[in-house]
Symmetry: C2
Amino acid sequence: MSHSYEWPRPALTVDCVVFGAADERLEVLLVQRGEAPFKDSWALPGGFVHQDEALDVAARRELVEETGVDLSYMEQLYTFGTPGRDPRGRVVTVAWLALVRPGVHRLEPRTDARDAAWHPVADLPPLAFDHERILETARERLRGKLRYKPIGFELLPEVFTLTELQRLYEVVLERPLDKRNFRRKVLATKLLIDTGQRRTGVAHRAPSLYRFDRQRHAELERDGYLFEV
Amino acid sequence: MSHSYEWPRPALTVDCVVFGAADERLEVLLVQRGEAPFKDSWALPGGFVHQDEALDVAARRELVEETGVDLSYMEQLYTFGTPGRDPRGRVVTVAWLALVRPGVHRLEPRTDARDAAWHPVADLPPLAFDHERILETARERLRGKLRYKPIGFELLPEVFTLTELQRLYEVVLERPLDKRNFRRKVLATKLLIDTGQRRTGVAHRAPSLYRFDRQRHAELERDGYLFEV
DNA sequence: CCAAAAGTGTTTCACTTACACCCATGA
DNA sequence: TCATGGGTGTAAGTGAAACACTTTTGG
């Protein structure tokens, strides 16, 4: 093994697929590249891993540097390393899937990314490198995970209505859900706390506001439960 | 981004968690290290990624070099990159989960691995590096995946009995399953072909031999079906 | 004829699905 | 008073789980 240290090494990067929900659509955070290759193209935020930096730390750092967003959830997605995926040479990237709550997005492009912006996933520009493939992998993971882990809440504000939650699920799963069945099932998990508050100022009956019960979720998680919507 | 090319790069390796089933136990393939660090310790087979080598190719190559096994299934598991996980310096490893059929194991240690051997996962020696953590991640993935994807077949010979399949599920899931319910459910998937043959020479009624229908599986896969046991 | 595993159906219960109307509020 | 979404229950069907005995074969 040790002789291998002298070989040329692949470069290592991280890339983040950051999803947000707004206007009843699923959006993804992209940066416009300021340098070649793919200058002016949109790309996933990301960059090189520092020498003694954990991979998740690198992902968070690049994200803050390029966009300034504050994440509510992050998990490792997949590592992409097909030779030729970067025209500059051999670059292996560890991709991450992240979620942010609405409103928190203060977009502040800072370093080499000229611009950062939210794009609806249903209507995207061409992306740099193999980022379209990475994004597609992330969409599949999100769809799958949403069905058996309660991560949908990480895309909503701290308090939300049941209808907002249902809309989110419909957007991600790309199919309509029955209102009564959805409410029954999601309330049956006992993962929602009724805040007792209602959202006023709407031109219809004021809906109840709920909060996700992180503590109960942590307890259930220990025993290995299933969520299922 | 481009300035990053001058920075010191983390080294990149692959490691394989190879599961096999034998004697109604789940086993994992380990190699005994011939060099420091962790000389004489058991470790997952793996090694450095070559400059223009795809990650899965690297994983397969290391596996053949160190053990000579022939895989029936392989998927990317997770990428581990915590600083300090390798005492020699910064090493990031892309871990793979692989399955092999019984009997195919011609173990032939060839390069720097002094010895390769199967170990029951229920009774393992201490492992080098963070390989215990990697192995635990692989066990969880295998358990989860077995329940909704038909990968159990990749741990059995080409033809097998329903009881053998059930025992395998019981070993991996670590719980007993009801015989009648199991048979009904697994046959309902239409993923098994009755070969018409029976296993003779056993001291009880000769059991039917089945074969996994890869073609039908591929068809169902396209529509996105679920397996569930 | 004995031991050992193969093979086979039915009932019960829980959960999922489909479905339609009245209520509260602001404009 | 109208438009808009909030909120609620029941019946039918499907799928999961529990459960025991007969059959075949080799020794």
